[in-house]
């Protein structure tokens, strides 16, 4: 939102109306200007006025839905390794470009029993993430209480993933998506599982996954490491085809470092979840050593004397 007096009363595009710094008015329900009001419901209180543009109206008979994400987390990473799955996410929840909450855990352990364990890494809108967390908790408690009562089959990562996919797709079909992209990692009876779901209900699985910025910058690095290890395994130089725990951590750390350098909504403070048959272990927050010496020698554009 442009706070300059000259901008007052001007028609704004939805994009202009978004004010990342304002904690008092979501842009889409700010009073419309005379030029943008479309659905005339006869009141000039502003509150119920059509915000204009492509957005729906509360009182005009049309249901108000889709928002933009407000408090957001950036990319999350996932990787299958020899003993299970690892997930990584930093601890930041941004508010526009403001690094607003810097101690947020975006990895949530979902269930762990002697048969299976799973964990979720979430990016995107944090309020939707918290809603999702509650929904999952409800489902898991429900399943757990019933599993104790009788020989009810217990949940595994595949079942939770299916539930998540259905939930996300159902919400996008109502034109009211949960604004998230997430990775679900788990192990059940020795089988590793890693899957991606996002706000559109799009799903895919792969031994290496990343969301958001990470899908551009980290996924190639993860894939390279994964495939290199597989090739080595096949040629018999090393036993097993998957990365060891240490190798997996090293690749993830490397990816988090690259993302920290290049993603302006990231933070150099992150956690890694290790999901194995033994359960879900979420590391303490850690940081990577960064290297900025190269910057000293850089000379920018334009005339430079030194």
């Amino acid at each position: 939102m442009n706070h300059h007096p000259g901008a007052w009363g001007q028609t704004l595009t939805p994009h202009q109306r978004f004010d990342a710094y304002s904690s008092s008015a979501p842009s889409r329900y700010q009073p419309s200007t005379s030029g943008s009001g479309i659905v005339g419901n006869g009141n000039d209180h502003g509150f119920y006025d059509a915000p204009g543009g492509n957005e729906a109206v509360m009182a005009g008979g049309v249901v108000g839905h889709t928002q933009q994400p407000l408090v957001t987390g950036t990319s999350v990473l996932g990787l299958v390794f020899a003993d299970g799955v690892m997930l990584a996410a930093d601890n930041l929840a941004s508010y526009g470009s403001l690094a607003r909450f810097r101690d947020i855990q975006r990895l949530i352990p979902l269930e762990s029993s002697k048969h299976s364990s799973s964990c979720l890494a979430v990016g995107g809108d944090m309020s939707d993430f918290q809603y999702l967390q509650k929904q999952l908790e409800t489902m898991i408690i429900n399943e757990r209480t019933q599993a104790l009562g009788d020989d009810h089959p217990s949940l595994g990562p595949v079942q939770i993933y299916e539930y998540l996919s259905n939930l996300m797709y159902a919400r996008r079909s109502k034109m009211d998506p949960l604004w998230n992209a997430m990775l679900l990692g788990g192990v059940k009876d020795g089988e590793s599982f890693l899957g991606y779901v996002d706000l559109l209900g799009t799903t895919y699985t792969s031994p290496t996954l990343a969301s958001g910025f990470g899908s551009h910058m980290a996924q190639p690095l993860l894939r390279e490491a994964y495939e290199k290890r597989q090739a080595q395994g096949k040629s018999g130089e090393r036993e097993g085809e998957l990365m060891s725990r240490d190798e997996a951590v090293a690749v993830l750390e490397d990816c988090m470092k690259v993302l920290y350098y290049r993603d302006a909504r990231s933070m150099n403070k992150y956690q890694i979840a290790t999901i194995t048959a033994q359960g879900v272990d979420i590391s303490a927050s850690k940081s990577n050593e960064t290297e900025w010496k190269f910057a000293e020698g850089l000379r920018g554009y334009g005339p430079q004397k030194q």
């Binding site: 409800t138 408690i141 429900n142 209480t145 019933q146 104790l148 009562g149 009788d150 020989d151």
Partner: protein, 274 residues
């Protein structure tokens, strides 16, 4: 039952001239004659157990579990009509879940275990006509009570032990078919409950841990059970304690086996002494 057949026992909505509700009393009889269930409140958690008479050799061993969970931190076991117990557990789960939805926190069993009687009085003072506190045990008991108020329904034929560990610590209650409930340090319902209670009274209930509790409960269950009269039985046991991180879970089969073996040995030794 001196008044049987006087015609006042046909409906739960009719009192007898001496002020009794016979259907509720009969329901309690149904609960008394079923397999024994034991609940124990320990210093660090709770233990629940039930004696399951083996009805048929065709049943799979360990199947048809009887102890149920209402939430992560609350378990319940009832003695009496099985289906009534399951129905009550379902209701309890719904209550616990709706509390979580509303307040974002797990439900406690009792609102103020330290101040038992104050809830009703404070509600009355505030002008509430129907005092029902947001406590799981109260909610479940009120539900059972409703089934003693209408001619079209029959009361629950179960006595229920409900136990859990919440923010106020370990809690244990027994709900009767009438809808009344009491808190206990330990209790037993079903066949042989008197003997079981006598044994429970001998325990050092303020200091016992769940691990010791498992051993004691197994011993009492084996002591009370009469092989000659009731045939074989399976012992099912759950607990909440440090080992389960606050979750209501089955006692690991190895520990349960140890406890049962110790119980049998103790019984044999006692027999030899006699």
């Amino acid at each position: 039952m001196s008044s049987i057949g006087t015609g006042y026992d046909l409906s739960v909505s009719t009192y007898s001239p001496d002020g009794r509700l016979f259907q509720v009393e009969y329901a309690a009889k149904a609960a008394e004659n079923a397999g024994l269930a034991i609940g124990l409140k320990c210093s660090d958690g709770i233990v629940l157990a039930v004696e399951k008479i083996v009805q048929s050799k065709l049943l799979v061993k360990g199947a048809n579990r009887r102890i149920m969970s209402l939430d992560n931190h609350v378990g319940m076991v009832s003695s009496g009509l099985l289906a009534d117990g399951r129905h009550l557990a379902k209701r309890g789960r719904e209550e616990a879940q709706s509390y979580r939805d509303q307040y974002g926190a797990p439900m406690t069993l009792k609102v103020r275990p330290d101040k038992p009687a104050s809830v009703v009085s404070s509600l009355m003072a505030k002008g509430w006509s129907s005092p029902c506190s947001q406590a799981l045990i109260e909610r479940v008991a009120m539900y059972e009570h409703a089934y003693t108020c209408y001619g079209s329904v029959r009361p629950f034929g179960i006595s229920t032990i409900m136990a859990g560990v919440d923010k106020t610590g370990p809690q244990l209650y027994v709900v009767e078919p009438s809808g009344s409930y009491y808190g206990y340090r330990a209790s037993a319902v079903g066949k042989g409950k008197q003997l079981a209670k006598t044994e429970l009274e001998k325990l050092d209930l303020s200091n016992i841990t769940v691990k010791q509790g498992v051993m004691e409960v197994a011993r009492i269950a084996h002591l009370v059970h009469d092989d000659n009269k009731d045939g074989n039985f399976e012992l099912e046991m759950t607990w909440i304690g440090p080992e389960t991180k606050g979750f209501h879970e089955h006692v690991p089969s190895q520990l349960l086996q140890e406890a049962e073996e110790a119980a049998k040995r103790a019984l044999e030794e006692a027999m030899e002494e006699d």
